[in-house]
Every structure is written in C-alpha cells, then in structure tokens.
C-alpha cells in the first residue's frame, strides 16, 4: 500500500514537465552558469591552501631533555633500562619534529609558516592574515618524555587557535592531529618494549593527509550547492500534492478505505525520500557525465544522500501536516518561495557564507541542506566517512524529529472521523 503511494507520487511527478524542469533542469542550468561564470574566481591555480600559520614555542626543548636525563640517572631503575631511556630521550625531540614537519618543502608550498619564541599570543591572533596559531607550552617536551618513556598519565597538550575558515587552518589542524597520532603510537610502542625512531614519520603522514584535500573547483562547489538547494523543492512539491489530494477529496477515498494514519504519513515521508534521492542521483549522474565531477567514495556519498533525502522526507511530512492543520497550502508556498532561499543562503549554496562568521557557519550546518553540503564538500575533498559521520547522524536525527513533529500535529480527525 505504501509502495502504491510512492509509485503514484513518482508517476505524478514524471508527468509534470514543469515540475521536472524546476527540479532537474534548473539546478543543472545554474550549475553550468555559476560554475563557468565563477570558475575563474574560485578555481585560481593549483594551490588551493594558502595562508599563514604561526607556531609559538614557549619552552626550551634542550633544557627539558637535560632535566629528564638527570632525573633518569638519579632514579633507582635498572642500569640497562636507564641506558635505553637516555638514548631514547636523546634521539627524540618532539618540538624539533613538529618544526620539521611545518618547515618541510611540501608543507611550505601550501602555507607560510613562522616559528616564534615567547611572543604575545594576543598580538599574533589579532593579525587577520594568520589563519592558525599553534602554541607549544613551557615544559611540553619534558611532559612528552615523561608520558612516552615513563608512562606518566598526564597527556602533554598543544593549543591550536583557528583564526578563520581557510583551508590553511584546516590543513594545519590536520598536521597537528597526525603529529598527535604519531606520538600516541610512539607511546604504545615504548610500553610494549619496541624502540622507535619517529622523527621523520609524522611529517610523511601529515603531508599525505594534507594533499588528500583536493582543490575545490567552482563547478564542483555549485554542483553540491545547487543540488542541496533544489532538493528542498521536493518538500513543497510533495506537501502541495498532498493538500491538493485533500481538496479534491481523493484523500477522502483513502480515509474511507480505512488507511491507518501512520501509513499515510509514512507514505508521504517515503515519497519525498525516494524523489529526493532520485533527484540527487540523476543530478550528480548528469554532472559527472557532462562535467566529470566524480565521487571518490561512493559508499559515503550514498550514505549522505540517503540521510539528506530522509531529512527532506521529514520536512515534507511537517509541511503537509501544517497544510492540513491550517486548511491551506500556504505553508508549502511559503517554504518554496522564502524558506528555501534563506536555507540556501545560510547553507552556503551561493558562496561559502560560513567564512563570514562562526554564527553563519553554525546556522548553515543546522539546516539540512547546509549539513548535507558540508558533508558532500568534505567527501569531494577526499575526506573519509568518519569525517562526515557527524553530518550523517545529524541529518538522520533531524529527519526523525521532523517526522515526529509532523505526525503529532497531523489532524487525527482527518482519518478517524
């Protein structure tokens, strides 16, 4: 029965050329226009990650090293172990390792790194052109040694300040994360009695991570931007059809056929879900064929598309319920004429508004299209599913919430007399 509701909705849409044009033709046209028109502005060369990163080193690694060696010598541990620890400490310089990573030619191609001693942190953070600041606190190396070699539980910490949303800041954060992961690996190796020589590996790992972030072309950006915007029109399409069904009394026939309320509402959800998913797949399929925009990870792409389509289904149920409750289709009309544009703007469909301020970034990610866009862009840049699992979960949770609210406000007397 639910399958019949979905099939009916699909047939109605397929036979409505005007709707098809809005849902598939318009986004494709806009992707082409915006992608070509803004290509020269957005694509700008092969170096997408440009920006300045500052590293402030507040301590003295050599003194930390000497202090720990002195402590080891004075301790009561066996002589052989003492010798191993001293050798390990002498060959391992965490701060130098971090500096080495950021000073490597591969990283310098993408960002300008300045390493400073004791400097006023506030002064640097106020500089608008610095995308990120990494603060290495006093006794950092000493704490690392104790953590790695002596098994001290307190975890040494670096502080990372992100000044803007530029790719340089995100890349620097990735490098620091990789650096942290390498230290964790070193600690585990030491605990298991394995000697390590880790001064070079983190740099390699980090650069691998950075270069995964592919440059974002205008056509790619607007493919995502327009698709997540136009998928919202499915909401008004499905909810308007439902209201017209009520007005024409076709809905009465379903009421008289004793269709349970949940089945009708779920049928509406599923119709919107299927239509949204099909729209996304057709649109991305066409863009892949025509413009060569490819998805590096099909599983992740499908997961995000499914969760985004589910949130569209949830919104359709909510709009339908408001239409039925208010006995007019004004909710659907308002959604398609105003809400879609607002959502598209804050969600970043026209340009990355998240770079304007954190408030916009937060608002954008709260919208279904914004959350979907954020996840799609990450996937296109080469991130894995773990990086977008938050958006995936958020969209699914949002769809459940919207469905529940819609189901609660759907007028019960419609189905039960």
């Amino acid at each position: 029965m639910i399958a019949s509701l979905v099939k009916k909705q699909l047939l109605l849409l397929l036979r409505n050329r005007q709707e098809l044009l809005v849902l598939l033709g318009m986004p494709f046209l806009l992707i082409t226009i915006l992608g070509v028109a803004l290509g020269s502005v957005m694509d700008g060369g092969d170096e997408p990650i440009k920006g300045k990163v500052a590293i402030i080193i507040q301590g003295n690694e050599q003194k930390d090293k000497e202090k720990l060696i002195q402590e080891i010598k004075q301790s009561s541990i066996p002589q052989q172990q003492k010798q191993n620890l001293i050798e390990g400490t002498q060959s391992f310089s965490p701060i130098e390792q971090l500096k080495g990573i950021f000073n490597s030619p591969n990283v310098k191609k993408y960002m300008e790194v300045s390493i400073k001693g004791r400097t006023d942190l506030d002064d640097i953070r106020k500089k608008r052109d610095v995308s990120a600041v990494i603060v290495v606190p006093k006794h950092f190396s000493y704490n690392v040694y104790r953590h790695v070699f002596l098994g001290e539980k307190r975890v040494p910490q670096l502080t990372f300040y992100q000044n803007d949303g530029k790719m340089a800041a995100l890349a620097a954060l990735d490098i620091v994360r990789s650096y942290r992961d390498q230290l964790t690996t070193n600690t585990a190796m030491t605990k298991n009695g394995i000697r390590f020589n880790g001064n070079h590996h983190p740099a390699e790992i980090s650069m691998e991570s950075v270069t995964k972030r592919k440059p974002m072309k205008a056509i790619t950006y607007y493919t995502v931007g327009m698709s997540v915007m136009f998928v919202l029109y499915i909401v008004s399409q499905v909810s308007t059809y439902a209201f017209q069904e009520k007005e024409s009394h076709a809905f009465d026939r379903m009421v008289l056929a004793n269709i349970p309320i949940f089945k009708y509402v779920f049928g509406t959800f599923l119709s919107a879900f299927v239509l949204a998913l099909l729209q996304i797949l057709i649109l991305y399929g066409a863009v892949e064929i025509v413009y060569g925009v490819k998805w590096p990870n099909w599983f992740s792409f499908l997961a995000i598309s499914i969760s985004l389509s589910a949130s569209v289904g949830g919104l359709a149920v909510l709009m339908m319920a408001i239409n039925f409750r208010s006995q007019s289709e004004s909710a659907s009309t308002f959604f398609s004429s105003a809400i879609v544009s607002v959502f598209a703007f804050v969600g970043g469909s026209f340009f990355p508004v998240g770079q304007i301020s954190n408030v916009f970034r937060w608002l954008g990610n709260a919208t279904p299209n914004g959350a979907g866009m954020n996840a799609y862009l990450k996937l296109l840049q080469g991130y894995g599913f773990t990086e977008v699992v938050g958006s995936f979960g958020y969209l699914l949770a949002l769809s459940i919430c919207l469905f529940m609210i819609g189901w609660m406000i759907f007028p019960r007397k419609e189905m039960s007399a």
């Binding site: 029965m1 019949s4 099939k7 009916k8 047939l11 109605l12 036979r15 409505n16 069904e245 007005e247 024409s248 009394h249 076709a250 009465d252 026939r253 379903m254 009421v255 008289l256 056929a257 004793n258 269709i259 007397k413 039960s416 007399a417």
Partner: protein, 310 residues
C-alpha cells in the same frame, strides 16, 4: 440499514445542517433534493463519517458509526461532487491505485479493475490520462473509483453536474443497473428533479439545513393534488404582466422563466379569461397556455418559494 438521528452540524456561528432525520433501507435508492447551499453535501459527509456531527447520531444496523466508523466505511462507496481523481494518472492507474487502498492486489485487483472499466464504459480509453477525458468520462471514472470494493451502500453527491446529456443518461442508467442488479443501496443527491424522479424510490427534500418534506414520489406530488400548474409562454413578457399575476388572489405561486410564467392555482379555478385580459392590458403577447399536473419541481417551488436551481 442506515438511520440518521437528529443530526446537526455547526461551523462556528453557521448551522449548515439542523436536526436532520432520515433512513435508508437495504436495496433502495433514496434521493436527497435541495438547491445549492441547502446542506446536502454536509449531510452526506456526516453519513459517510468524513465529518462528525455536532449533535445527533448515525447508525448502521442500530450501531453508532460516530466513534467506530470502520464497518460503515468498509461497505461504503462515495462519489464526491468534485472529481476525486489524479488527473496525471490514466483511468486504469487511478483505479489500480484506489484498489490498492482497498487492499486488493494481484489477479483480484486486475479482475476488479477490468470489471469496473466495463461498468463505466471506459475500457477502450483505460490507458489515456484522466486530464484528457471529457467531463462526462471523468464523472464516470469518479463513479468507478467508488465501486472497486463492491460497496453495499453508495453515496453520490451530484454526480452529473456539468456534463453532456449523453453522459448524464449513461450515468443514470449505470446507477439504476447497480441498484437493480447488484442490489446496491443508493443515496443520490441532486438538484435535477428529473434525475431523482427517474432513479429514486423515496425522496427527502432539504432547504436551509432542514428536511422540509419526505416520502415516495407520489406522496410528495400529492401535496399539490388540489392544485394545477399553468405554464404561459409569451413572445413579449412584460414586468407589469407578472405584477398583476402576483396581485391575483387565486394564484398561489408565480415563477418566471425565459419568456415563460408558471403559476400554481387551485384545481377548480378557471383563470383563462383573466390571463388573456391581463396580457392585453400589459401589452404581453401569449403564444401558448399549458395546464399541467404538479411535478416535483412544482412541489419544491410550493414548499420553498424558490426553484431548485436558484
């Protein structure tokens, strides 16, 4: 089968239906007559359990259907005044969709859809989109969608509005066949008196939300058994002529049509000489005078003071 007990429906300050009582016996065709705005559609929506009455009860075999509508719904087919179909689906797709809603599937669904297409005479056009149908074909399909689950009771709300005489005749014959061959109980609302006269065993006449009279066709016509209708056709109908007719104390009702005046007078009154005199004095040219037995239309006029299609 169905008992409607003193139902009233109020929408805020407006009372659309006021204390209506009626009954339907199994296998009979009952007409509900009334002008636009009389409350017919609201009444049948309540009987169909689509809207609850503000006051009163509706019973199916002595069981209230207000709180437990499922049984009535399972034996009820409804033909709304609106075309309750999907215009972008074909006739067959529409019927298959509603058949699925009634939980029909597979061969059973196909058989039933074929049977209904036969009944409504649309087998040849079953794959055409509904939006390309004529008004009459849409109305036939609208009826077909109500027949898929073999209802025992079918409620038809003005099913012939706005269609050509040929389609209208087809629909009336179909309804009569359903009643006679399938023993379906029919509640038929219309403001076409001749349809109700053709189809119905009993008639309820409704105006301003109330039932103003009910009975068999003969019983209702007997209301005017002591009267006759004189239809005067004219070439030049003058307002003064209608005015003087209205002033004549022996005339009970006057209604004016296109160059035609109908008057209701007691059977024993002979008015011919007066009519010609009135015509002469008001410069009205009479082309014919016809004396008729009362029709249901005349009864309605007599009871409400207005024509059915006012």
């Amino acid at each position: 089968m169905i008992d409607v007990v003193n139902i009233t429906k109020k929408f805020k300050k407006i009372t659309a239906v006021n204390g209506v009582n009626m009954y339907l016996n199994k296998g009979e065709t009952v007409g509900l007559l009334g002008p636009n705005g009389a409350g017919k559609s609201t009444t049948i929506s309540m009987i169909a359990t689509l809207i609850p009455p503000t006051v009163g009860d509706i019973r199916l075999n002595n069981e209230s259907v207000i709180k437990h509508p499922a049984h009535l719904r399972s034996i009820l087919g409804i033909v709304p005044q609106e075309i309750a179909l999907y215009m972008d689906l074909s006739a067959r797709e529409n019927l298959e969709f509603f058949a699925r809603m009634y939980k029909l599937s597979g061969k059973e669904k196909k058989k039933k859809v074929d049977e209904v297409l036969d009944i409504i005479g649309l087998k040849d056009r079953q794959h055409d989109l509904t939006k390309h149908f004529s008004g009459g074909m849409k109305r036939r399909l609208n009826i077909g969608a109500a027949l898929l689950h073999d209802p025992e009771l079918i409620i038809m709300d003005e099913p012939t509005v706005g269609i050509d005489p040929q389609s209208r005749n087809f629909i009336l014959q179909t309804v009569k066949r359903l009643n006679e061959e399938k023993k379906m109980t029919v509640l038929y609302t219309s403001h076409y008196m001749e349809e109700v006269e053709f189809l119905c065993d009993r008639i309820y006449i409704m105006d301003n939300g109330k039932i103003i009279t009910s009975g068999t066709k003969e019983e209702i016509k007997n209301i005017l058994s002591a009267e006759k209708t004189i239809v005067i056709k004219t070439e030049r109908l003058k307002e003064e002529f209608v005015h003087v007719l209205n002033q004549e104390p022996t005339i009970r009702k006057v209604s004016v049509g296109n160059q035609t005046v109908s008057i209701i007078v007691p059977k024993q009154v002979n008015l011919f000489q007066k009519i010609f005199r009135f015509a002469e004095s008001t410069d009205t040219v009479i082309t014919s005078i016809d004396v008729q037995s009362p029709t249901l239309e005349d009864v309605f006029l007599h009871l409400t003071g207005k024509a059915l299609r006012d």
